[in-house]
Amino acid sequence: MTENMKYWRSIQYQEWTDEYKALIKDEFKTGDSEFTSLQRRDMLKLMGASFALAGLGTGCRRPVDKIMPYSKAPEGTIPGIPKYFATTRPSVFGGVGLVVETHEGRPTKIEGNESHPASLGSASIHDQAAILELYDPDRSKTPTKPFEDGRIPGTWEEWDAFAADHFMALAKKQGDGLAFVFGGEESPTLERLQKSVLLKYPKAAFYTHNPMFPKNSREGTEKAFGTGARVLVRFEKAKVILSVQADPLMTGAQALVNSRGFAAGRKIYKAEEAAGMNRLYAVEAGFSLTGTNADHRLPLSVSQTPDFMKALAHELFPDQFGVANFSDMRFVKALAKDLAKNKGQALIVVGENQAPEVHALAHYLNHALGGQGTVFQVTQAPAIQNKNIADLKDALNKNQIQTLVMMGVNPVYSTPRSMGFLDALKKASTLIHVGLYEDESAQGAHWHLPQSHFLESWGDARAFDGTASLIQPMIAPLHASRSDLEILAQIAQLDSRKGLDLVKATWPAIRFDQALHDGVIAGTAYAVVSKSAAMPLLRQGFGGQVGASANLEILFNLDNKTLDGRYANLSWMQELADPVTKLCWGNAILVSQALAKELGINSRVNTRIYEADVVSVSLGGQAVEAPAFIMPGLADKSVVVTLGYGRENSGTIGNGIGVNFFKIMPANFAMTAQGVQIARLGKIEKLASTQEQFAMNGDAIQEVSVLSLDNRDPAKLRTAQEFAAGEQIEKQALPQMTDAWKYSGNKWGMVIDLSSCTGCNACVTACQAENNIPVVGKDQVMRSRALQWIRVDRYFTGDVGNPQSIAQPVPCMHCENAPCEPVCPVAATVHDTEGLNAMVYNRCIGTRYCGNNCPYKVRRFNYLDYSNSGNIYINPLDKERNKFLQMQKNPDVTIRYRGVMEKCTYCTQRIQEAKIAAKREQQDSNHLPDGAVTPACAQTCPTKAITFGNLNDDQSRVSLLKNGPRNYNLLEELNTRPRTSYLAKLRNPNLELA
């Protein structure tokens, strides 16, 4: 420090030695806890020894925890009774309306809002994981500013003082040199505040940065239907759906809605309904969730897709489109025939990696097929003017920007390295970063301001169809944070800077409490217009995309779990198995088996641990090292990577997990590129997966395909035609040695419709949130100890080059003849009076015999102390992390200690809640009405594939389904008499292609 130091704290401070600098630099370091750099085992040894010593002297006592009663109870709060509030999760795809369960003011679980058009009562994995984001211990807790090489905490007062001066000065310059970059989430209040900012700083510029922003699709729509036009698709009305390089069931604005609509056309309960079943074609280079659900799937590289589309256009309308050169005309002809046959009910959706022209062509075809108004609608939204990140980089490089405010974005991580954004950023003299985390972009910022989570702040958002809804806080901010709106209001120097006032000012004319209650603001959807699509200009190459080439192409997809990396620090997302690859805790470069052979990649499968060959992936002069994962069904010349991993400043969970493919992404954010080079490095990396893969080597393929599908047939796969022809799902009449137990009251049961299930994993996250299921970490997943109570099994069938994939969610079957029950020596697992196979944690001593004897292997054992380990098995004594995470816990569900078995309970706490509610209303709690109890998985299921209810009630939905022709029991021949049964999966193949 300087010689003219006026005040000093100590001699060392005054001398300002390097040693001392290092000392104070780390003194209040935020973010990573230092302890986590210790190996868990070292830590444990240390702690074990000290605890043992401490224990010797002091004896063991339980830690003292105090429970305080309310001295003044908040109005309407009954301790122990949860309350539910509507809110909205903002997203670049459009806000999703949610209902949040809160216990004594503490939000614990997120569900969908039935009245919201983007939710329809369901919530995606990301919507649900937002609760964990709220309580993430790694969130930033105070404003920070640079200090020496690192950062130190500041205070909001300091910021306020700084902001007052700084923005006053900027205002004098009309805001010259001031720029903002937003995440592109549409919010009326944000738009209003942006206008206020412009009033104050007329020269200020607004940019949008979001790797998830559907740029090509918006441009394509505007090409077809004019500026501001957006297309809403309605799968429920469609008879034939073609998905081209898209994943409409998993990503994008309408994923939940599309899933619901798609499943609606697949709920075939009687043979005579089979003719009405919809048919899904997928043409894709990767293997998307939509692809796994397709009746016909054509692996096709991205670069060949425009030709495919042209060929299809020609087949459909030969008088309008010329002949195109495409190889697999058999597929195209059959497809075109099918589309043409179903005019008015045929729909084509195109993915983001296709140029806008391809989107425009698809819109034209959709329109020409007569689907407007039924299978799709055109709405008119205001055109979006914001400039993008490339413009921002240019402006920075031209030194046009001195003060840059980054609002909830992380461009330092989520821009291609070749773009050179980080260097451009250094040109700004004042960088202000507002975000939930002190992430990569916060590192160089002159001010990092902690942003309030949407569950702790006021706001609003627009859904994909324009419907606005309010965001209301569930809890006061956990940390010293402010919402983006509040900070913007401060910058705009508005008088009213409280979030609630800001939102109210946007919506002066509505019944505010009604809008809060409903979770939507009525009548705010964009107007549906009727427009004819412009005939697309079919240029050669479609926006620079060339035709088939010998080069390898690479696809940059958003990760199904971490998206663009924003959820990388959420352990629920990391541990969730990818719906298609079943990989967790990391990403990989997916290659087809043919390509792997060609390149000599030989990833050995050691069952759930993949010893994957590490390859170097280079593109445009940039290279990364990544494990190669052999994936069936990919186009031979396409490799697929997902963005969203390899974070450096995401927090304890996400740091260093996986590979950051932004590093090799082309500078223009192209989601696909040609000419990628892949070379084996001779190294091996272990990948974790929750399910044994089949496409690894010849033996494994044989085993799984022969056993699981030809003989065991877990999904009892049938075609719609077979079903219509009355083909029976075989059922066995098994002898019962004793009379079945008669349940006088409720007798619970569940049916899972495999035709509806898309395998999206929403049920897994719902269960994890509802039932306090800990995350165990990569090491433990590789030891096959993941704890999720419901798993989604994935089976492939058919050719390795182009297999079909089947998803099968497997919760506890609650067998009537439960094999787990007689073997427990201490009777810790028993039947209850309503037929549940109950697990008594207090009684369990952990012999694990029940797990051995469960043919479905749905029992989960707490091999280690997972519950108290900071949501990942890093360090069981890291109580600091748990302090936040335990606030998420559902108080109605026991936290399991190590050494006990656990499993799906059919959400017994919800059953109890419903029974208590019935009793309160003086109704018969032993005969609850149908629908009174909905387990978490069934509640959130986007396709409503899971039905739960009372089997004693002949008219309950579950009874009706169980009596239907598609019902079957998994492993029925074992005579376990499961209560959870399945409806056999139906496919609807086009017989011309079969």
Binding site: S708, R843, I845, Y863
Partner: protein, 462 residues
């Protein structure tokens, strides 16, 4: 008395003597008591080295158990389909070993197989220690050892019985009963010999202890009458236990519905296997001991050959059982069962299966040759093979059945971690610590009994 005088002794003329070297009553007493009577400071160096090794291994075992309880059984490699692995493999392995002792003592006693007297004490001690090792594993393998008392049918505030339908509970009773009866049987047999030691030792403390445990034995006719009666009764009581205990252990598997476990052949197959492994372990321990303790004349080549014959018979039975399992897997037409057995022999654990078959079925067949079964070296090597093979048999049954069951989605290859071998080796530490203490301080040969079978004619020069 001349041995030609009595018709009863006629077979003795033809047969080889059970005890050789012309040992008389006194020689036997001297030979057997020598080790126990050696003053502490003159303890044999070899014994000290062995004991130090065993005791250190035991210490490691105790520490490992401490860590296991502190951290949780996740320190092992057990997974989600393979909920049981080395923990239960070790348990069954040790219980199996614990079979030979009582079989030799009780069944051979009832069948008047007099050759048993040279080895029964040794074998019984081995049984007791093996069962102790066995009992440790189910104890420590549970998730919550601090509530393991839920297992026992003791009155409690929860008003809960254990679940009598669970084979694990039957197991507890079966092994517990077996242990108790074996211990009593062993101890009753020890009483006259303890009295001998009491009468001979010089050390006061030793005299007191031997005196205490010899229960005032004076060798009077009345004592002998009661002793013989008690011994006979205990032998009769133990006999069914020899057969029941491993049958019940096999129920742990046979009553489960898991393919590879759910078979009716298990009880006889397990008992045969247990006797097989027990005799092999007796051989493994006896062959070096008779050398080091100078008991060649008491434990003769005839004993060794007899035991090898039993190993050959039981080994063949075990091999037959392996074959029948395959036959039934095919004959039953049950695809899960067929898959399990194909998977055993040709799946990822084929190496374990073929290790088992080699050690248990193929190598014991060498005992058809008299030359080999009367060779000390061959006997010792083969006994080690059988020990290894029988450990792998339990591994194959438990792990290969569990790691791939009905739904392929649950399959997971089990890999042990560093702790599994530590626990297995640690249990050997416990076993050998007990065993070395036994060899050092107790009569390793049933002196009183053996004196009844020596050819006390001309040769005897008391």
């Amino acid at each position: 008395m001349h041995r030609g005088d009595l018709v009863l002794d006629e077979d003795l003329v033809k047969r080889e003597d059970l005890i050789r070297g012309g040992l008389g009553y006194h020689d036997i007493t001297e030979k057997v008591c020598k080790m126990a009577e050696t003053p502490f400071l003159e303890t044999h160096k070899g014994w000290l080295v062995g004991f130090a090794l065993a005791a250190s291994t035991l210490t490691m075992f105790v520490l490992a158990i401490g860590y296991l309880i502190w951290e949780g059984i996740g320190i092992w490699g057990n997974t989600s389909p393979t909920f049981w692995a080395w923990d239960i493999v070790n348990f069954v392995f040790w219980v199996g070993i614990g079979h030979a002792g009582t079989l030799i003592s009780a069944i051979l006693f009832l069948f008047r197989q007099k050759w048993r007297t040279s080895i029964n004490r040794y074998a019984e001690a081995m049984t007791i220690f093996a069962v102790i090792c066995a009992l440790i594993f189910p104890g420590i393998h549970v998730g919550r050892i601090w509530v393991v008392y839920f297992f026992f049918p003791i009155p409690n505030q929860m008003d809960m019985w254990p679940n009598f339908r669970s084979p694990l509970l039957w197991d507890l009773f079966a092994v517990g009963t077996y242990f108790t009866v074996s211990l009593l049987f062993w101890y009753v047999g020890l009483v006259p010999d303890l009295a001998t030691l009491r009468d001979r030792v010089k050390n006061k403390a030793a005299k007191l202890l031997y005196g205490l445990f010899s229960l005032g034995w004076r060798g009077s006719m009345r004592h002998w009458v009661h002793y013989e009666r008690a011994y006979l009764l205990l032998a009769a009581l133990s006999t069914p236990l020899v057969l029941s205990v491993h049958s019940v252990v096999s129920f742990d598997f046979a009553t489960a519905q898991l393919p590879g476990w759910h078979t009716t052949i298990f009880p006889p197959y397990f008992v045969a296997g247990a006797i097989f492994s027990g005799f092999a372990m007796v051989q493994t321990l006896m062959l070096p001991a008779r050398l080091w303790l100078g008991l060649k004349d008491i434990v003769t080549i005839k004993h060794i050959e007899n035991m090898n014959k039993i190993i050959l018979v039981t080994g063949s039975m075990v091999g037959y059982a392996y074959g029948i399992e395959f036959f039934m897997a095919w004959y039953s037409g049950n695809e899960y069962e067929s898959f399990t057995f194909i998977n055993r022999a040709f799946g990822p654990y084929a190496w374990a299966y073929w290790t088992m078959v080699t050690c248990n079925v193929i190598t014991p067949q060498l005992f058809w040759f008299k030359k080999l079964r009367t060779s000390i070296t061959v006997s010792f090597i083969l006994s080690i093979f059988v020990n290894i093979g029988m450990w792998f048999e339990r591994f194959v049954i438990i792990v290969t059945s569990l790691n791939r069951d009905f739904l392929p989605s649950s399959w997971h290859y089990f890999t042990p971690r560093i702790w599994e071998p530590i626990f297995l080796i640690g249990s050997f530490g416990l076993f050998f610590t007990f065993f070395l203490l036994f060899v050092r301080y107790l009569p390793v040969i049933a002196m009183a009994e053996i004196k009844g079978v020596i050819a006390n004619g001309d040769d005897h020069h008391a």
